[in-house]
Structures are given as structure tokens and as C-alpha cells.
Symmetry: C2
Subunit: 184 residues, 2 copies
């Protein structure tokens, strides 16, 4: 497993992605690797564990992801805000983002794209469906392996609102007692 992290059930990754955090997507192809900042994604299924992501064709990562058919979704926390912003405002064509932003690439178990050690969670993904890529740049990935930090249970994530402004995740409230068991 990734250092300091636990093996997390891929069917339960909604806990980290459904609240809508900005994510860092890593990719690798023929000896090259890159990181991109992304906010347009959605959980699509529990089993298999599916996530849909928008990766615009203008991103350097687009071809690395499409050709390799793989990526890693890394969930950064608010302490990485400045790295998240800078990664989204430069291109892998001219910048080694791991080196420039002091991030550590760790080998993944099921894909060639690297994990970012400093992120709270890392989800290894394989491309499942590319039918909407040509028209919308929409990739459907299957999460095949999930690594998650032991704590905190609810990490402080970043949520983009456009115009350079982020919302930081706030307080946690439970309404568990009001749910039907089958809806939990």
C-alpha cells in the first residue's frame, strides 16, 4: 500500500468524491508523467466503482490519459491550496510539476500513473468508456484500487467556484437516523 495509507473499498469512494472536491489527476505515458487540476467530475456507480471526468483536449494530460487508458485521481487537502492553483495555471508541456511543486510521485499498484504522496486519497483508475470523449471530453473511469489516509475521516477539501475562488469544506452533520437503511 501507499505509505501511511489504508486499503479502502473502491465501492465506498463516494465519501471523498461526492462532496465535489478539486482533484489532482496524474497520468503517465511512455516515460512522461503529468499532473492536472480538475473540478468537473462525478461518481457514477458503486459496483463497479465508476467516476466520470472532464479532461479538456487542450490539457497536456489529455493525450497521456487517452493513450494509456489510465490515471490516478488524487484528493488534495487545503494545505495544498497553492500547489493546486499553480498546477492548474501551468502546463506539463513546459513544467515538471512534481519537481516544481515539491510533490512526491509514488508507484501505483494497478496502473502506471503515479500516486501523489501528499494527497489524502489516491484512486487508481482504468478507462472504462470513451464514447463521450470526442464530443464532450468526458471519460468514464473504473476505480480499481483506493488508498486513503487513516485520518481525518473527513479531510478538509477544496471546492472551486470559478473566478479564482474556492470554498473550503465545512462542518460535518449527520442525519443518519432519518435515512431508510437501504438508502444509506
Amino acid at each position: 500500500m501507499a505509505k501511511g495509507k489504508i486499503d479502502f473499498p473502491v465501492a465506498n469512494i463516494r465519501r471523498y468524491l461526492e462532496p465535489g472536491p478539486v482533484i489532482l489527476v496524474t497520468s503517465a505515458w511512455r516515460g512522461e508523467q503529468n499532473i492536472m487540476t480538475m473540478g468537473w467530475h462525478t461518481v457514477m456507480e458503486f459496483v463497479p466503482s465508476l467516476v466520470g471526468c472532464m479532461i479538456a483536449g487542450s490539457n497536456h494530460s489529455f493525450n497521456l490519459v487517452r493513450r494509456s487508458g489510465e490515471c490516478v485521481i488524487n484528493v488534495p487537502t487545503a494545505d495544498l491550496t497553492d500547489a493546486v492553483v499553480c498546477i492548474g495555471n501551468c502546463s506539463g508541456r513546459s513544467v515538471d510539476k512534481f519537481k516544481t511543486f515539491g510533490l512526491t510521485a509514488e508507484p501505483a499498484l494497478r496502473v502506471k500513473a503515479p500516486l501523489i504522496r501528499e494527497c489524502h486519497a489516491n484512486f487508481e483508475c482504468k478507462l472504462k468508456d470513451d464514447r463521450l470523449v470526442d464530443d464532450y471530453n468526458f471519460f468514464v473511469f473504473e476505480v480499481v484500487k483506493a488508498h486513503v489516509g487513516r485520518r481525518p475521516k473527513h479531510p478538509q477539501t477544496l471546492h472551486y467556484t470559478g473566478d479564482g475562488v474556492f470554498m473550503v469544506s465545512g462542518k460535518i452533520i449527520s442525519r443518519r437516523s432519518r435515512f431508510k437503511l437501504e438508502m444509506l
Copy 2:
């Protein structure tokens, strides 16, 4: 316009949807209308303004949305938490959700599905692409009209994490000065 709301540019709705709030989707078909709670959605494009949404086939709303080819995405705030939970834990087959939960249906301008007056924002949507509906229940909608409350600029939204637990949106931070102009 919807009462107390302003006409908002549809190309800018990321401000409300990209942070990942739980939304209430309203639909109407042949005299029947319904509301469902949904957390699996993503912005897909600015112009045209596209949003992808997962509506499982088991939801009563599925057929209303598919047959009408329309819906309204309503963004509730934390004061509606209990309604959001209850709407997600009962079915429109047996419950009139507007009446039961004290919500007000207002006519939309471009679609037959109603707006929920008590929600901070209402986005009128037309079905744009249903290619992934049969395999994944994934609908691509175009937002054709947006109504947004004048204030606050950043409403307190609910973000689901599974297991009956929500994250409430937290503080707002700007990194605008670190963005390239074309990335804003």
C-alpha cells in the same frame, strides 16, 4: 423571473454546481410532477451550458425526465437539510413531495418542470444527450435558463458523503491573484 431572484448567465453556473452540492431535481410529465434528491452530477461545458447527472432507473423521476426531456436543477441551502433528506427517502409514487415538505412549485420559463421557490438557485434544463442513459443512467442536460438568489454570493450548501452524513460548505478563500487571466 422567479420571485426574488435574478436572471443569471447560464455560462457561469459552475459557481453553484462545481463545489458539489446536493441538488433537488424537479420534473413533470402529463400532469404529474416530482422532486428527487441527487448528488451525482458534474458541470461539463460553459457554452453551451452543460451538466451531466445520474438519475437511477429505480427513481420515480427517471421516466418523468426521460419522457419529457426536461428537468430543473434546484440548489437547496442548509436550512432545507431535513426536507432534502426526507425527499431522498420517500418515493413520488406514493408522496406529493411539494405538499408533504412544504415546498412551493413555481412555473419555469423554458420547461414544464417546476422551480422550487425555497431553493437558492434554479436551473432550467433540456436533455441534450442520452447516449449513456441505457448503460449508466447518465443524462447530459443543457441549462437554458438560470434563476439565482441575489444574496448571499456563496450560499451555504449541503454536500453528501454517504452513510447519512453531510458536509456543509465552509469558508471562502480567493487565490484570484495567482490565476492566469485566461484560466479565470
